[in-house]
Symmetry: C2
Subunit: 323 residues, 2 copies
């Protein structure tokens, strides 16, 4: 398949976004957005590093690549609008597989009426998918990392560690309770777009998506906001079936596993009831897991964990000592 | 170098674009553009396919990747504003080389006050650079391919075939006249940003940038506009030192070589004087190379070449028979 054929294959018959002026088919795409801020990010995924054919079909590669990229938009409070895809295709991949990748992306895109407005395809040794996403957000509701304040509640959506549990289940060909639930969490992540967009009753929310594990994401908030964060192990939301795995694995996945694409953030304690209401309205589980606490230590920008009645400083890429 | 170190390395100390609200450092970049259309495209470059360390330094990889991407903005009449970079880094590349790639991009970006507002870095087997560019253009001056009309003049900027001559000179280690001119054309392409933006006195211009060879680009205009194009071999602008190479090589480079990142377009004959004036004002050589000519054949969407008093149908990925 040459570039021309690929373009014809992926070109949408019609576009859904009213702000789009020109999609695929010229040197570049054109759109116009006079009212809202424009939010953009790029993510890249390489076969055998970010995904493997042992655990995913090409359709999953596609779905997951776009979902992971859109999670960055959700973390900014933005509504997804467009995506562009660059793909490096090895000679070993037949056209059908490439088509399935785009079908997976298209399946995710259709959930949010996103339009594919550009791309590039080149040959190379390794299957590589690079996704640029573009979204819109009212200027008052952009959700940055740097706005956390002392005494804020820290909250997280969903439950943690499921994606890694799904990957482990696939890699080890396990037969476990709720197997398909965990596998689905790994292959079809569900970024919290509706929840983050519904936060408009709250002025100040710091927000980050969990792509690299919650500890890493909390550090980004702590550093950007120059605060200390204290979370409690007993409060961490975990799916009950995760108890099938060893405590060591579970802890590793919950704190450092990542790829759940849940949101973690902070807001004033007075806004906690509103956050719970928005969670219910958008069918999003929300859990309070701790507080911003600058009294814990003089130096700022750190993340602490209360576990077994002890407070420990967490390391970004770490390991939880159980004893 | 991990992602965190890379981000710190590439993060600009200050940003130049007044429409930017948040650059590198959150989940996504944020900007606001109430007045103009937003233009975006993505291009991907793989080592040993799009560039090779035999003929270019990492600095050139970077410069050329961004220049080639910005050429798509020039072809839309847009002013470059932002870029995002995804890079796949093999273990064999040391940090210094990656730094030089970004320095090359930064050198090009500074010509147009472009800001680097996002990116991703992952490890992989092959050095791969994926560049997303974002630019602005007034809605009346977006330059599409589909607006060519019968009897339009066809024009091209600069001279053709120079980039391929430079590559050939490097590959064959030739010592030729104007060697450095051709090598520079290959390593440091100069997209026609100023020229395309200065066309605002003309309402209707079809425009395409020459990334894949002029014949291919002319076909895109012919098909999108549903017209036939007739160009003349005797009119094609060629640097005088290109005569050092064989006629066969020269013709191949001029018509199918590509990567010159010149612009080819059409406009009403009555606008030709204005185009020449804009060429002079922006220090851009502009040459009339033929006409839109729907009388040449009933079926539309074709490109013809007048050569040696014969009119031949050109093929997209072809070869000029000299006899």
């Amino acid at each position: 398949m040459d570039e021309f054929q690929l373009i014809n294959m992926i070109k949408q018959k019609y576009y859904k976004q009213p702000t789009l002026i020109k999609g695929v088919g010229d040197d570049a795409a054109v759109f116009h957005q006079p009212n809202k801020n424009i939010v953009t990010a790029v993510d890249t995924f390489v076969e055998n590093i970010h995904f493997s054919k042992e655990t995913m079909l090409p359709y999953h590669f596609g779905y997951r690549s776009l979902a992971a990229s859109v999670s960055d938009l959700a973390a900014m409070g933005a509504q997804p609008a467009f995506y562009l895809v660059s793909i490096v295709v090895p000679a070993s991949k037949d056209d059908e597989k490439i088509k399935e990748i785009f079908q997976g992306m298209n399946r995710f895109a259709s959930k949010y009426n996103m339009d594919l407005i550009g791309g590039d395809t080149v040959s190379g040794k390794e299957l590589t998918i690079s996704v640029t996403v573009i979204g819109y957000v009212q200027s008052d509701y952009v959700r940055y990392r740097h706005v956390a304040k002392d005494n804020d509640v820290i909250f997280v959506t969903g439950t943690l560690g499921n994606s890694q549990a799904g990957l482990y289940t696939l890699q080890h060909k396990l037969t476990i309770e709720n197997k398909h639930y965990f596998i689905k969490k790994h292959r079809f992540p569900n970024p919290r777009v509706a929840f983050s967009q519904a936060l408009t009753d709250i002025k100040r929310v710091s927000l980050n998506d969990i792509s690299d594990g919650i500890v890493n994401e909390l550090y980004e908030i702590a550093e950007a906001s120059n605060v200390n964060l204290l979370i409690e192990d007993a409060l961490m939301p975990v799916h009950k079936s995760l108890a099938q795995f060893t405590e060591e694995l579970t802890k590793q996945w919950v704190y450092f596993g990542g790829e759940d694409f849940e949101l973690v953030g902070t807001a004033a304690e007075t806004d906690w009831e509103t956050i719970k209401r928005i969670g219910k309205q958008t069918n999003t589980k929300v859990t309070k897991i701790g507080y911003v606490n600058n009294n814990i230590y003089e130096k700022r920008g750190n993340v602490y964990l209360k576990i077994n009645n002890e407070v420990k400083l967490l390391k970004k890429e770490g390991y939880i000592h159980l004893k």
